[in-house]
Amino acid sequence: MPDTAIAEAPAKAATTGGNILQVRNLEAWYGESHILHGINFDVNAGEVVTLLGRNGAGKTTTLKSIMGIIGKRAGSIRFNNEEIIRATSDRIARMGIAFCPEERGIFASLDVRENLLLPPIVRAGGLSLDQIFELFPNLKERLSSQGTKLSGGEQQMLAIARILRTGASFLMLDEPTEGLAPVIIQQIGHTIARLKKEGFTILLVEQNFRFASTVADRYYVVEHGKIIDGFSNAELAANMDKLHAYLGV
């Protein structure tokens, strides 16, 4: 599917709210390396959209570009109809976008409580601590532990939990299941499904499309810094062979 068609795909696929994020001709560089070569896609309010692709395809760079933590970017990123391509990352966060990085970003010098309370509340509507502990009961028992002393699964829960407090309604989760045990992956899947039910919009980066298929409404496939295909969850079965070829599985 050509890029222009991809850009229009959400209009066909939209089953939820209005357009919340529009990415057009997004290019990004790490130093001299040109990583993204004109990414186009949209996310509608209340959707879970997944970016699929092989390692190094540009999925994480896309999230980082939206978050404003890439040195050089060009093109257009509109969030709630506001252009954010030139905004600083702290301003983007205060507009209601929250980012959970692949490496989780748990701070070693902070205990679990401090890690949890670190991101400031940017707007009303975030989850309370009680709601967070209901989602992730393990965290309540480990509040005074050093953040990096938690297990991988607990660290991932902490990384997701802390952005739920902020009131951001648009969450970007970068490979939340990477390196986790199946039971934890299942728990994270339930959490994402519940967040979707509560109205959060989620942009997910995943290599594990079996996991993604349990939560996503739509998919975009990223390759060599471009979106090369896109389809809805209902179209997943019909696109399975293509997807295997794209992902090399």
């Binding site: 404003g68 702290d90 966060a93 205060r94 980012f99 990085p101 970003g105 902070l110 670190l118 400031p120």
Partner: protein, 289 residues
């Protein structure tokens, strides 16, 4: 025996200045990754601001207001330095920060030396802190006791701010991963500027405290800063509590050396620094740079 206690007191007073200065250096290094060689010059500026506040044709602002005004004035000067110069060194090797701040120190000291020479200007002890107390085993000048107690309180308050408050959590997190902290919605560049202002303000506060004891001299910071860097290296770069404890401890060790083996009193700190670097290069409580 009285001489021993007297040297212990001198050691504690020096330790107070070491602790305040090395604390400021640790705060700045932790957040900015800059080895702030201008710290001694900014300490000297603190003393000079107190001197100017008292000795001018318009106002006669004494010691107590100077304790607040001088750190604010020098802190603002430091923030201007950070915004206009130091911020451009982000991500570069430590050496660039060291060279820039060393150059700044030479310029600041040179300007003051040009106008005020090298001799000391007197700054009187405030009336409330004049005199002394006979403790039985030694005579304690009240001002010196005040310096030790006040420095300790300021050091512990700074430690509390950084280790036990939400603002401190921002600072510690930004030390580890400023990009992510900024992506949470915190204005990290502004926080860095304020942190530099805080570190510099602590140096200026030490300068005001020192003015009645050591007189106000353009090179007062240059004399002290080398020892303070040794303190920071021993305590561990970036460690807040390490800087405080090491500052006071090395002051006391220096004082004791003056009593037991005066010939080594000027070198004992550096000998300890070499030993610590050999055994634990990151310092007693520090993290790797």
């Amino acid at each position: 025996m009285q001489a021993l206690y007297a040297q212990l007191l001198v050691g504690l007073i020096n330790g107070s200045f070491y602790a305040l200065l090395s604390l400021g250096l640790a705060v700045i290094f932790g957040m900015l990754n800059i080895i702030n060689f201008a710290h001694g010059a900014l300490y000297m500026m603190g003393a000079f601001v107190a001197y100017f506040l008292l000795n001018n044709d318009y106002l006669s602002i004494g010691y107590w207001p100077a304790l607040i005004i001088a750190p604010i004035v020098v802190g603002i000067f430091g923030m201007i330095l950070e915004r206009t110069m130091l911020q451009w060194l982000t991500g570069l090797d430590h050496l660039y920060g060291l060279l820039l701040t060393f150059g700044l120190a030479l310029i600041i000291q040179g300007v003051f030396q040009n106008y005020f020479g090298s001799s000391g200007l007197p700054y009187a002890i405030p009336d409330q802190l004049k005199g002394g107390m006979n403790l039985g085993f030694m005579f304690l000048p009240i001002y010196r006791g005040w310096v030790v107690v006040f420095s300790l309180v300021v050091c512990l308050a700074t430690w509390f701010l950084i280790e036990k408050t939400q603002l401190g959590a921002y600072l510690r997190a930004a030390t580890e991963n400023p990009t992510l902290v900024r992506a949470f919605g915190i204005n990290v560049p502004r926080m860095i500027t304020l942190t530099y202002g805080l570190g510099v303000g602590l140096a200026a506060l030490a300068g005001v405290l020192s003015a009645p004891i050591n007189q106000v001299r353009p090179l007062m910071g240059a004399d002290l800063i080398i020892v303070v860097f040794a303190v920071v290296v021993i305590g561990g770069m970036g460690s807040i509590m390490g800087s405080i404890i090491t500052g006071f401890a090395l002051g006391v060790i220096e004082g004791l050396t003056k009593y037991f083996y005066p010939e080594a009193s000027n070198t004992v700190v550096f000998v300890l620094m070499v030993l610590v670097l050999l055994v634990k290069p990151t310092g007693l409580t520090g993290r790797a740079a």
